[in-house]
Amino acid sequence: MLLQLKNVSKWVHSGGQKVFLLKDINFWVNEGDFISIMGPSGSGKSTLLNIIGMLDDFNEGEYTFLEEKVHSLKEKHRANLYKQYIGFVFQAYHLIDELTVKENLEMPLLYKKHSASERKSLVADMLDRFNIVGKKDLFPSQLSGGQQQLVGVARALIASPKLILADEPTGNLNSKQGEEIMEIFTQLNKDGVTIIQVTHSEKNMAYGSRVINLLDGKIE
């Protein structure tokens, strides 16, 4: 088992009342899974993803990632954990505008201990694998949306994570570009990478092996 959530709840206070964003989530993921989280707007999909990605806190419950109890870890420890095992793909790509494709790809490696030559070869591998060698010195604004997301995926993969978290990865893309990204995900999954994606689209959902439906912060 890669990770497990037990009775996880998250709430905010609004007008003196507790408003639950997530309530009593019980949920586990095995290595090699390809999970789609579905649900209408405001059902808590992204919140759940962020909690899994350790970018966000929760108020109650337990979260175990590779035998580590995330809820009781120190911030620094937690950062080390997700740095090592998790890669993120965002809907709005979130590439840094002032950096070239190559430099964007290199960034996650900077926060780990890699030598310069290692970084160079890893970046070169990734450029090769995604067929974007020719674009390595361009800035994000010089690329199409699909190409930007390709770089986004490449960046998520460069540190060879066990788990990829994708928040509506195709939300800003046209259907053809979307399909390409989903094909890549499928391929990655076949190579052994666990994937959790948040999506609205039935079509994307079909790529996954398991579906979790959220409604008002609860798993249906």
Partner: protein, 794 residues
């Protein structure tokens, strides 16, 4: 990682050139100002500290009790120094020295060459006390004997062309009624600029005693003339010693009324004022004031920098969010931001040094100093430290604040600003503008007062009057020369006087006795001894009676008062009445309308004129017809050459002396102009930063307003109004403060301009105008953006 951050820093500069430029301009002008002040302060605190014996070098002062409380005077008995050295074991050396002003512009002759320069008379141990380096001569011997003279290196070069064989050569000098020949016994290195005592030659005090104060006898302890300096032994307890010498003079002679106090020589410059016989502040106040201003400017510049960085950081939020999501530690981000601001500070440092380099000549003119940007490791170390400190201070807010947020919050664009934060920003702008407005008002006030002082009717005519010294051969044929002067075409009138009429040097006396005042004798008068026609030459107006005249031989026992004096004495129908001065009865022949002989800071003091005897005539004054200065002065020069061969005709305009009294005010006027300019610049940068930040923050609101149909001009108005409010608040704060400060400053003048409303209104309007100009561009820019862009990003 470093390379990455450097790349990000540089690419951000490239992308947001204007922001970077504004940051750099703000920081570097602030830094430049701080550096200039730092140079000034460093120079100021080092004045007179170069003497090796600084720690044990003291000046001894006379302290008199008077009606207005204790008065401390630098004049001391001329035998005080030698007696102290003799009788007090704690005193290693003691010397008397005349003040340089007393013996200024003395003509020195070598063959046919005449050079006029300042000198002092000093006791024989002078070079044992002060560290003026002797190039030639022995410090124990150079001031021995009656006929030696020690000259500065540059004077030696001017007089003899080189330093070779200068010792033993003869110099003739001519001053204060003496004409003497002295032999060069030594040469000293020119006195450094940071010494308060400046002179080019030293004569033995013995000569002074013999020729001018006629020593020997009872008056030695009562007459006060030179300054006294002492050098204490190293183990002396200074406080005990000070208590011990308090009544030293009194013990030597029963007629002495003065106590002795002592101050450290090097402290006299910064703590030059005395209160109740105690040394209190002085220039040190300015040192503190300017240090505070420097700190203020630095902090304001830093806060502006912070403000701009923070508002720009919203553009870089994504970068921060992504970095955090990819596993960057908070400390890494903090280092990155500090690194960037320190780098910016160092770029500003370079620019600031350039500005300092360019402005230093101007700054020297204003401050009257000789500062330079030398590569002194201490100064550069200090500058580096200031820049580092600035960088860290300026970077602290963005570094600590922005890195605090959770990556999700940032990536979702949910960064909220507390209202407190916005009020801090607004408060800052209000503060900066208040300061600018106060400075603008200060500039207006000071310049108006200076104009007023220069144009007010003095009660005499200071324009077109030249004066020069009676020296050399003129002393023998003064009357004949005066007659010749009056014949020169375009010379309106000419006369002799004992002293310059302008300024504070006019003698004060208290020995006047009149009916109803036989006992008291305490009233003090200004006294000037003048020649015939002086009153006419100066164009002073008679209120009653007549002026001195050659037709009345008895005028040698006549006296002329000014109006204030008569009022103070309370004499009715004064003409023809007599007053006693010394042993002579003087009859009052005329009353003059009051005229200003001192600066406008002083009220007109009681004053009287007597005719002088020939010995006390020391200056000629000549009024020439306006507009004919050039040719008339040429003719005066010819006459002078005829009567006084071998001397250079050196004259001054009375007008110039008059202006010199306001040198400090003029300095303040020009300095405050620069400060006001800088304050406005920095305030505008602050306002610009705020305007940009606010429009950035309200982008969505502006977009929605536009979509709902508000026009661009309406939005521009709305945004501008918001900042206008801030400036109006600033005006509300600044005006009362400026009013208080202004009236306080003006109260230092006995004659002053009224505080008019338009100074305040004008300054406020100016600030408002500049503010609108700054904000307007931002507002128009924001109002004309495509609303779709503003909404899409949400």
């Amino acid at each position: 990682m470093l390379r990455h951050n450097l790349i990000l820093f540089l690419r951000n500069i490239k992308k947001y050139k204007s922001t970077f430029l504004i940051n750099i301009i703000g920081l570097s002008s602030g830094l430049a100002c701080v550096f200039l002040i730092a140079l000034w302060v460093l120079d100021e605190v080092q004045v007179d500290r170069f003497h090796e014996n600084d720690e044990y070098l003291y000046q001894v002062w006379n302290k008199f009790e008077s009606q207005e409380g204790p008065r401390v005077l630098n004049w001391t008995p001329s035998i005080l120094a030698e007696t102290m050295a003799d009788k007090l074991p704690e005193v290693k050396y003691a010397v008397s020295q005349t003040i340089p002003a007393q013996f200024a512009k003395v003509p020195l002759h070598v063959n046919n060459k005449v050079i006029k320069t300042d000198g002092v008379f000093a006791g024989k141990d002078y070079f044992n006390i002060f560290s003026y380096h002797l190039i030639e001569g022995d410090k124990d011997q150079v001031l021995e004997g009656m006929n030696s003279i020690v000259i500065s290196e540059s004077l030696a070069n001017q007089l003899f062309g080189s330093l070779n064989g200068v010792v033993g050569k003869v110099i003739e000098w001519d001053a204060m009624g003496m004409l003497e020949k002295h032999q060069v016994s030594g040469v000293f290195k020119d006195i450094p600029a940071n010494s308060t005592t400046q002179f080019d030659f030293i004569l033995p005090l013995a000569t002074y005693k013999k020729g001018i104060i006629h020593n020997g006898g009872k008056n030695d302890w009562v007459n006060n003339n030179p300054i006294t300096y002492i050098l204490l032994n190293e183990e002396t307890n200074v406080e005990e010693f000070a208590a011990k010498i308090e009544n030293f003079s009194k013990l030597q002679d029963e007629d002495v009324t003065a106590d002795l106090i002592m101050t450290k020589y090097s402290s006299n410059y910064l703590y030059g004022n005395f209160e109740n016989g105690q040394q209190v502040s002085g220039r040190m106040n300015y040192v503190y004031l300017f240090s505070c201003i420097a700190l203020f400017i630095l902090i304001i510049a830093c806060i502006n920098f912070m403000n701009l960085s923070t508002s720009n950081a919203s553009r870089r939020l994504k970068e921060i969010g992504v970095k955090r999501a990819l596993g960057s530690k908070r400390t890494t981000l903090i280092t990155q931001y500090f690194g960037e601001s320190v780098m910016t500070a160092f770029i500003s440092l370079l620019l600031a040094l350039l500005i300092v380099f360019l402005f230093i000549p101007q700054f020297n003119i204003i401050t009257g100093k000789v500062l330079s940007l030398s590569f002194d490791p201490l100064i550069f170390g200090l500058f580096l430290l200031i820049a580092l400190f600035t960088g860290i201070l300026a970077g602290s807010y963005p570094a600590l604040h922005l890195s605090r947020f959770k990556p999700v919050t940032i990536l979702r664009g949910q960064l909220k600003n507390s209202w407190g934060e916005i009020w801090v920003r607004k408060g800052l702008v209000i503060f900066q503008f208040s300061l600018s407005i106060i400075l603008i008002i200060a500039v207006l006030l000071v310049s108006q007062q200076v104009v007023y002082v220069q144009s007010k009717n003095l009660g005499m005519d200071k324009d077109n009057v030249v004066y020069f010294k009676q020296e050399g051969h003129l002393r023998q044929n003064a009357e004949a020369f005066l007659k010749e002067l009056k014949e020169v075409p375009n010379v309106v009138n000419a006369a002799m006087t004992s002293q310059n009429i302008i300024g504070t040097n006019i003698n004060t006396t208290g020995g006047l006795v009149w009916t109803g005042n036989e006992e008291e004798r305490r009233s003090r008068f200004k006294e000037l001894r003048i020649g015939h026609d002086f009153i006419e030459t100066m164009d002073m107006k008679l209120k009653e009676g007549r002026s001195f005249s050659r037709q009345f031989l008895a005028d040698s026992a006549a006296i002329v008062f000014n109006e204030t004096a008569i009022k103070m004495m309370g004499i009715k129908n004064p003409i023809g009445k007599t007053v006693r001065y010394g042993s002579t009865q003087y009859s009052i022949i005329g009353i003059l309308n009051d005229f200003h002989f001192q600066s406008f800071r002083e009220v007109v003091r009681p004053m009287f004129f007597r005719l002088n005897n020939n010995r006390s005539n020391l200056e000629f004054v000549v009024r020439i017809a306006g507009g004919t200065e050039k040719e008339t002065l040429a003719k005066l020069k010819d006459s002078y050459a005829k009567f006084n061969p071998g001397y250079v005709f050196e004259y001054n305009f009375l007008d110039t002396d008059f202006q010199a009294q306001y040198a400090a005010e003029q300095r303040v006027a020009s300095l405050s102009k620069y400060f006001a300019g800088l304050a406005i610049l920095i305030s505008c940068l602050g306002l610009f930063g705020l305007a940009r930040y606010m429009t950035e923050r309200r982008r969505k609101e502006i977009s929605i307003r536009k979509v709902l149909g508000q026009s661009a001009s309406q939005i521009t108005m709305m945004l501008s109004m918001e900042f206008t409010k801030l400036v109006l608040i600033a005006i509300g704060i600044a005006v009362p403060v400026a009013y208080l400060l202004g009236s306080n400053w003006l109260s230092g003048f006995a004659y002053r301009i009224p505080l008019k409303g338009w100074y305040f209104i004008g300054a406020g309007c100016m600030a408002l105008f500049v503010a609108l100009l700054t904000v307007g561009s931002q507002a128009i820019g924001a109002a004309n953006k495509n609303p779709v862009n503003g909404l899409k990003e949400e």
